[in-house]
């Protein structure tokens, strides 16, 4: 036994062994669900494991993965962000507009910066004006969608000769067999996980979300930390918007709808608590993969889309119930 095992094990004798085992099991429930889902699918439809389908799954998950990682930051810090879907559309369209004038690099940066700016507005309203995050980000979600439709005249941004060639290639090309669009969340994952779990800033995010009063008393600038989580979420939604523009070879003003709900669902499926202070980045990715694989596998097995919605809803309810059970066993 390592020292950490002993440290966490110090309170186990008070629990019954059965409950302890159950707790461990429930802790990894999302992973087990994902594995079971993959096994069931592959038994019914061997093409699930074909290289082309596996690539499809990563591609279909890539944009949402970036949004969901930002959402994880906000939820760990005790917040909530409904505006990410609108930011995806705004960043994609602004990015496309700017890159038609100033080239792909400046355009992509503009998309990310505008996302971070909206995030900063969210952070200001929630952390400093103390608005309920649900209401504050509902406001920006609606307003930003209107802004996108206004500046684009509700038309896709394509330019006369299309978006810059190198940008379109980013949405299309592969590296070591995986699409570049898939590599983006992979690289971001390692950076964001490092920040969250290996830096003082990361610990402050958990502290600000888990116990704001205690964190405040411990000298953590809770307001600033909370506000910063929205900047992360906005900037990452901006990255996702730029990625989506590359995938669609255009800025689409109506894109990103429902991304807020799907990314929140991914975080919750991964076992994070909506009360804050809890959550792991890799678990969010597992939660997202449950949603993506569920949809893909039902597609491959010819199941009606309405069933897919029902199945995803049921899985979310199940995950939330498991989460409650896990907390009670503590």
């Amino acid at each position: 036994m390592t020292s950490t095992d002993q440290a966490t094990g110090s309170d186990t004798p008070r629990r019954r062994p059965f409950a302890a085992a159950l707790s461990v099991l429930l802790n990894q429930a999302p992973l087990l669900v994902l594995v079971a889902l993959c096994l069931t699918t592959v038994l019914n439809e061997p093409r699930f494991m074909s290289p082309i389908n596996l690539t499809n799954i990563t591609l279909q998950a890539s944009v949402l993965a970036v949004v969901a990682m930002g959402m994880t930051y906000v939820i760990i810090a005790g917040g909530f962000d409904l505006s990410v879907g609108s930011i995806v559309a705004l960043s994609g369209c602004i990015g496309a507009m700017v890159m038609l004038e100033l080239g792909p690099v400046v355009g992509a940066l503009a998309g990310v910066v505008i996302g971070a700016a909206v995030g900063a507005v969210n952070g200001f309203f929630v952390a400093y004006l103390r608005l309920n995050p649900f209401i504050a980000t509902l406001g920006t979600m609606v307003a930003i969608r209107g802004l996108v439709l206004l500046i684009t005249h509700a038309q896709p941004i394509v330019g006369d000769e299309g978006l810059p060639r190198s940008f379109v290639l980013y949405g299309r090309e592969r590296f070591l067999g995986l699409p570049l669009l898939t590599w983006t969340p992979i690289v971001l994952f390692f950076i964001l996980a490092y920040v969250l779990e290996r830096t003082a800033y990361g610990r402050k995010l958990y502290a600000a979300g888990g116990g704001p009063e205690a964190a405040f008393l411990a000298g953590i600038p809770v307001k600033r930390i909370k506000a910063s989580s929205y900047v992360w979420s906005g900037a990452l939604a901006g990255v996702a918007g730029v990625m989506l523009a590359a995938r669609l070879q255009s800025g689409q003003p109506t894109s990103g709808e429902f991304y807020e709900l799907l990314s929140i669902a991914a975080v919750v499926l991964g076992g994070a608590s909506l009360y804050g202070g809890e959550g792991r980045l890799y678990k969010t990715i597992i939660g997202l993969m449950i949603i993506i694989v569920l949809s893909n596998s039902l597609n491959l097995m010819d199941v009606d889309s309405h069933w897919q919605d029902i199945a995803i809803g049921a899985v979310i309810l199940l995950a939330a119930s498991v989460d409650q059970l896990r907390h009670r066993l503590r």
Partner: protein, 298 residues
């Protein structure tokens, strides 16, 4: 999530069981599952596929371009033999065409066009010919001579450019009829009304007005009715939407052009069947259209 594959209709399934060897699977990704136009097109596809003994697998999306691209990727992973798509956006669906091309699956656009170089074929309406037919009808309706005005749709969209081109071609070839006014406006009733009001002031002798689509034509009809000239000035529309059909019936509108989405879907399947047979038809595959006027509106 918002897309799906359904093996459509027991009919298709039964046909597949009893069909000769060589039954193929056609993946279908139309633009909408709630728009009556595409519902009818889907029906045409399923009917014709069942008759030919092909299976149909449908990806249903509702004007969500990401879902459409993802859906086509799933069809490719499922190794369907051909894909019929009505692309929601000419550019944003490029990745879907690329994926089909890479997998060697023919992908045919129906009703809406794609900018992708990998589009195997486009089953279109013959826009130039429709424009010519409208002109022929209008010239006859105004008695073979007089003045006509054009309220065309935006020429940035190929459809409206082609329609107007066909119309102009025929009218210009006729010495007795002159185009006295010509403009391009967004496709709304409000614009049709506004422009037609100006036309009536500037060209009080006008005999006929060409509307680039039904909304423009219905707007023009309102302007004409407001000055009590309904029936004296002949207005033409395009698309055959229900309000336009009603306006033809009560005489406010002279003509609209109806495209038959069921036949369009059937033609898509026939085209795919030809491709399965090893020949790719030339790039001109057109759906029939029907001129609807007072003589045949009911």
């Amino acid at each position: 999530m918002i897309r799906t594959l359904t093996l459509s209709a027991a009919l298709a399934g039964m046909a597949a069981l009893s069909s000769p060897a060589g039954a193929e699977t056609i993946g279908v990704a139309l633009a909408s599952t709630t728009n009556p136009f595409y519902i009818a097109m889907q029906r045409g596809i399923e009917e014709r596929a069942a008759e030919l003994g092909h299976d149909v697998v449908t990806v249903s999306v509702d004007e969500d371009v990401v879902a459409q691209v993802d859906g086509v990727l799933d069809l490719v992973a499922r190794e369907v033999d051909g894909i019929l798509i009505s692309p929601i956006d000419a550019v944003a669906t490029n990745q879907a065409y690329e994926a089909a091309h890479e997998a060697g699956i023919p992908i045919v656009s129906v009703a809406r066009h794609s900018s992708s170089e990998f589009q195997t074929l486009f089953v279109a309406m013959d826009e130039v010919q429709i424009g010519r037919d409208i002109a022929d009808w209008l010239i006859e309706a105004i008695g073979g001579e007089g003045e006509v005005a054009m309220i065309a749709g935006p020429s940035g969209a190929a459809t409206f450019r082609n329609l107007a081109q066909g119309f102009r071609e025929v009218v210009n070839a006729n010495d007795a009829v002159t185009i006295v006014f010509e403009t391009e406006v967004p496709l709304t009733r409000e614009e049709g009304l506004r422009v037609a009001e100006d036309i009536l002031v500037a060209h009080p002798e006008v005999d006929g007005i060409y509307g680039g689509n039904d909304e423009l034509a219905l707007g023009a009809a309102q302007a004409v009715a407001a000055v009590g000239m309904s029936g004296d000035i002949v207005i033409t529309g395009m698309n055959g939407v229900p309000p336009a059909i009603a306006a033809v019936r009560n005489g406010d509108l002279g003509l609209t052009v109806q495209l038959n989405p069921v036949a369009w879907g059937r033609l898509g399947v026939d085209t795919m069947d030809t491709i399965f047979g090893g020949t790719i038809p030339d790039q001109e595959v057109f759906i029939d259209h029907r001129l609807v006027d007072a003589t045949n509106v009911d």
